[in-house]
Amino acid sequence: MAIEFRDVTKYFGKKRVLENVSFTVEKGEVVGYVGLNGAGKTTTIRIGVGVLRPSSGDVLVEGYSVVREKRRASMHIGWVPEYPIFEQDFKALDYFVYLAGYYGISGGEARRLGRRLLEEVGLGDALDKKLAEYSQGMKKRFALAVSMINEPENYFFDEVLNGLDPQGIAFFRDLVLRLKRKGCAILFSSHILSEVENLADRVVFIHRGRIVAVHTMDEIKGMAKPALRIKVGRIDEGLMETLKSLGEPERKGRIIVLRNPSRSPDEILRILVEKGYPVEAMAPVEPSLEEVFFRIIGERR
């Protein structure tokens, strides 16, 4: 396996923020890391890339411990933090060259590489801009370019879609798929669950510092309760009572989502029509990660 978290526990002072976190990311696999704010996602990733020391446990990247063999492990890691922070008084390309120096890349080569990667992430016209003038989205793109300096096989993306415009989100989506095809291991946390659904092969659920579930996307889809989205011309108490006898109705404006229906859609439609309710539309709801997520979290509450 490419990335392996082994019983990672972290305390900030007396507060335990991670407890025996263990999971893996295989080569060519995209793993989504999902949890509520403050669940411990960023802390896990910071430990994974070696910028934060675990109180106990370890993370192996390509077999190298980020605790004991930090330099070697870091040679195989690319990281894009949620809020990248750089030394502000540098121009982008200069800072890239400076950071490339840590990988043993000479100045001239680093400059050529910097131009190519920065152009690739859409910063071609901001090479000589000071990092202080960069927007949050530009900083993320810059961090993304830096994460690819030495073409590592493992990537940690922390809420990388935050602050990106639609074009940036699309670029990132394509990049992840490209890296996956190249056999890279990718762990990315995101609160945009639809993106996780689109990209991840597996999802690791963290809640209050503990890994509460790890599921493949297929498992998640299987776990999601079936649901129907029903649009009815008139919604009243009678309708809701009827639907309660057919499943778990939830009103969302003029739409009612009926989870876990006890009858087939055709039968439900027939019952409603017989009771005189004008059904304008009825369609099955796709299985959702959000639903599974909240169910898992809910179960653990």
Partner: protein, 494 residues
């Protein structure tokens, strides 16, 4: 890992702020030089004239003299100006070394002063009597225009005149008490025939302290005379070495039907190099700058560690193939190397500018001691600042470091005074206490180095507590402890 470390160092060194810091040191060195120049030339003017005007007939007066610098060395190229009322230049003559020039008597009468200009100085002189007296007595010596000039250190010698036979005067410039290097200037006029230069044999010897005028003729006593040379000019210049165990130089002249002697008590003179070293290493010299240079290192520690640490920028760097140790060391090294290079630049700039302004500079040993002291002090203070930058809450760094700077650089002498008062040791103990307390100050190495240089020239009282070894040990301890504590605190932070 060496390449990134070197790269980080280069990056830190080539930052505008760092280059500015180095430039400040160079400018500081030059500024110190001007400070030294300003103070030093008040004691030892750069353009000096030792001359005598002799009647030469036909409405002209011959001026025989020598132009010399603060160290008594003849100046090759100088200008002599006869200046009248309203600073009108009546005559301008190029002279060099020992010179003999003829000036019109009328111009000399009109002149209110004689100005000597060299590449590094300008001084005013005048005849020590009315011009008309030249005709009567055949000659008139020249002296400094201001009263203070005539009392200038080194203006030794007691004019002794064998009436109607020989005017003879000697002046000694004590360059170094350590080496005994001195310059002896002599001016003499054969009064029986002022148109002809004197012709006498010169001898010199040394007497113990307490001898005011030297032994009388025929009573040579314990004085051992050595031949100085034959004086056959109006002005002469000799280099001699004076012993430290004597205090009076006696010069004996004889020839034809004249003989006599003059004595110069040199034990009270401040040697030129001591005056110079005293100014360079004293409280108005290097110590003054050593008080303000730490601000630069306080800033460097902020720029290299406190600021990026506080903003979180170090974390992004830490995700590279480096450890916390690497980051701590590379950033420390960048500042520490500046703490080493900057004092060298400072001293070098000061020496170069001194050479330019004064024609002299410090000897290498003293320069090395001062440079080492400054390096030690700056490195220790930088390490202390860096430790704070790497360990305390970044928002508090500037407050705490500035407070420590004020205590260590500005108020330490006052604290020493308070300690003396609290201990009831009396004011006389302040000197020793000040140096004893230097070991508890990261900047202490600089004051001990200044002391050592000044002590070497007798420019400061002996302090039993000032030890170069303890200063070295204390500086190393400051550096090692602060560096280690800083690292362990830096390593353990999240």
């Amino acid at each position: 890992m060496l390449a990134p470390i070197l790269y980080d160092f280069k990056r830190a060194l080539l930052r505008p702020a760092t280059l500015l810091a180095l430039l400040l040191f160079v400018l500081g060195g030059a500024a110190l030089s001007y400070l030294v120049y300003g103070t030093f030339i008040n004691m030892y003017p750069q353009a000096n004239l030792y001359a005598v005007a002799v009647a030469s007939g036909n409405d002209t007066v011959a001026i025989h003299g020598i132009v010399y610098d603060a160290y008594g060395r003849p100046v090759d190229s100088a200008t002599l100006k006869l200046v009248g009322g309203g600073d009108t230049v009546l005559a301008e003559i190029r002279v060099g070394g020992i010179f003999h020039v003829e000036v019109p008597l009328g111009k000399l009468k009109e002149a209110s002063k004689i100005v000597v200009e060299t590449g590094s100085g300008r001084e005013e002189y005048r005849l020590l009597g009315p011009v008309s007296a030249i005709d009567k007595v055949g000659f008139m010596p020249l002296g400094a225009a201001g009263v203070s000039r005539s009392l200038a250190p080194g203006e030794g010698g007691v004019p002794e005149m064998e009436i109607a036979k020989l005017y003879f005067e000697a002046k000694m410039i004590l360059v170094s008490m350590k080496s005994g290097e001195s310059v002896l200037l002599i001016r003499a006029v054969n009064l029986t025939d002022p148109h002809s230069p004197p012709h006498v044999v010169l001898e010199y010897g040394f007497a113990e302290g307490g001898v005011v005028s030297g032994p009388r003729e025929g009573e040579t006593g314990s004085i051992h005379y050595r031949r100085l040379g034959v004086l056959d000019d109006y002005v002469a210049y000799y280099r001699i070495r004076v012993p430290g165990n004597a205090s009076v130089l006696v010069i004996r002249y004889s020839g034809g039907n004249v003989s006599g002697e003059v004595s110069i008590t040199y034990s009270f003179m401040i040697p030129v190099e001591a005056a110079y070293a005293g100014v360079v290493a004293g409280s108005t010299g290097i110590s003054l700058f050593a008080q303000f240079f730490p601000i630069i290192f306080l800033y460097l520690a902020n720029m290299l560690m406190a600021k990026p640490r506080g903003s979180g920028a170090l974390e992004f760097i830490l995700a590279r193939p480096v450890t916390r140790w690497d980051i701590y060391v590379t950033r420390y090294s960048a500042g520490a190397l500046i703490a080493v290079v900057a004092p060298l630049l400072f001293i070098a700039a000061m020496m170069a500018t001194n050479k330019l302004l004064l024609g002299v500079t410090m000897n290498m040993d003293d320069a090395l001691v001062l440079a080492l002291g400054l390096m030690g002090a700056m490195t220790a203070f930088y390490t202390l600042s860096y430790m704070l930058a790497a360990s305390i809450k970044p928002g508090r760094y500037l407050t705490v470091s500035i407070l420590l700077y004020v205590v260590f650089a500005l108020f330490w002498s006052a604290i020493a005074l308070i300690v003396v008062m609290v201990l009831g040791a009396g004011y006389s103990a302040l000197h020793d206490t000040t140096y004893a307390m230097a070991y508890f100050n990261p900047l202490g190495a600089s004051s001990i180095a200044s002391y050592l240089v000044q002590r070497d020239y007798g420019a400061v009282a002996e302090a039993s507590t000032a030890s170069p070894w303890l200063a070295t040990l204390s500086t190393l301890l400051w550096i090692t402890l602060c560096f280690t504590i800083g690292y362990f605190r830096f390593r353990s932070q999240d």
